[in-house]
Amino acid sequence: MATASGTFTRFISPSGVSPLGVSAVLGAWMLIVILPLLGLVLWSFLKLENFQLVWEPTLQAYRDLLSSGRWEVTVRTLRIAAIVTLIELALAVPFAVWLAKGTRSVPVKVITLAALTIPFFLSLSARTIVWRAVLGLNGPINSALMSLGLIDQPLDWLLFSEFAVIVGLIGPYFPPMVFPLYLAVTLIGDELLAASKDLGASPAFTFRHVILPLALPGLGAGFIFTFIPMIGDPVVPELLGGGQVVVLASSVKSLLQVLNYTVAAALSVFMLAIMVGLAAILTLVLRGRVRRQST
């Protein structure tokens, strides 16, 4: 019994993580992430008079938001994010299946995975600015189309348009879609694919009834890593939209530039609500499906 009391004083949680460490991490998390967010929410319910915050709760900022035509910006942002996400899906699913199951060659896999990470070495702006030269009036695409005789005039909607923004977003958001999908497909046992074939299934049937349902968690993660950050990304739309394609993130920036802090805060809270809402819906949908297939 004497030893028992000794054991109690030296209690270590079953996970082997000290409670002190956990509270330290939680404290830092609160300080760095949650507190500024709460500040943001607080500001969105205040108003500015003569560039001074007035400390009484009001919905003025949200009213301004509604009346200032930012719905259009919201719809455009969501539309661009949705289109790019769909394009990423169409490209990434076959690519991930090929990389995980289609090729047995280890060098091919290593080189491909490395090639997918290399873009991260360069800043997003540097990678994006290249598209200006490619899509511009005198760029290679317009020259090629003209020399082929397909068009007489250079296409002016190639650059500084929603089209340009979509093209520019495809590259940077491809790896975050591919990686979780690749991992999910890798986890599908070869024996399952052999069994499906053995039972008479065509590759398309196997894809639809085995690969896709089992890769669903990867699909969900890929969606979260592409669609949601794209809503908050101002870089590509600004560089390739040329002021024509205003998205929510740039809207926040321009509000900040005119020192309209409360409306900027309200818009940020609004964006945050969209993202959290989407993530929550996705989590609920996936959880239902994943639970059924968990082992």
Binding site: G189, E191, L192, A194, A195, S196, K197, D198, L199, G200, A201, S202, F205, H209, V210, P213, L214, R292, Q293, S294, T295
Partner: protein, 370 residues
Amino acid sequence: MTETSERPAPASEDILAIDHLHHRYGNVTALKDVSLKVRRGEFLTLLGSSGSGKSTLLRMIAGLEMPTSVDVFTLEGRPMAQVPANHRNVSTVFQHYGLFPHLSVGQNVEYGLHVRKIPVPERRRQAEEMLRLVKLDGMYDRPIHALSGGQRQRVALARSLVLKPAILLLDEPLGALDEKLRLEMQIELLSLHRTLGMTFIYVTHSQEEALTMSHRILLMSNGEIVQEGRPEDLFDRPSNRFAAEFMGMENIFTAEITAIDGGVISVTVNGAHLRGLWTGKTQPRIGDPIAVAFRSEKVKLARDKGALGGDANRFEATLKSRVYKGKYLDVVAASALGDVRLRLWDDHVVLSDQFKIEWRPTNTVVIPID
């Protein structure tokens, strides 16, 4: 052995014929000049250690891999060499079952019927019937992860059987089960085979499984068929050194031929004379490199004049070690041949340090060293 004799003999018609099949992975030869014929209704076992090519051969028959070259490859009389798995009327029970974790038991069993666009109610009816056959009645809606290993095994069986394949291929299906369950499943597989009259090709590394279950065994090593025959043939008459070792002949000695008298061969081992039966494929000649082999349980203690008759192989022996195993006694004895292993089943055996051992020439095989 009684199991085998009770079963109906397979028909004389060949359901599968393969001639001169070769397979290479890059520079590695996986299968070398494999030829086999399988009769309708037969229970054929591919026996061999890991890397012997038995699973590769099964995957070839399933169509999951295509042979590098083959002269004849017919299933039910139709050429199959280049037909992929999803167009072959065979079905595989995989080693780890390959069950779809996101589908229920019933949906797993129905998978092949779903592929074949069978209407839902009919699918369900057939699946339920198959689940009854493998004793999983009422498990239709269970998720796979809620099943035990033995139950998963049965689902995999039902999933293949429901398609009524010409041949059911089984790739070490009992490997993942514990001893008791394995014996139960052996009996159940045999009874399924009897009920359905289907052709089974069974891959295993266990000689015990092969002996209990098969009509015929193909023993494989290094991508080749080393010996083929009934369980009795392989057990009692291994035709080469590898087969003798694999089938558990504990006493194998390199020997020299001194005389050939029909099937009976006289040999010397370290100057000691003994006789045995030739089991090799080609007739031996004096001077060929050969070995002599016999089972430890066939070696008896010779009392006085010897009980096995005048022509028995009989030697003086000195006790080296004895291990009590409950049912029997394992003894190693030094003799003129070298160390001989005996397995004595007599409860009341009293061993002195010096004794005589004997065994019949008909229980002794003379085999080529390849």
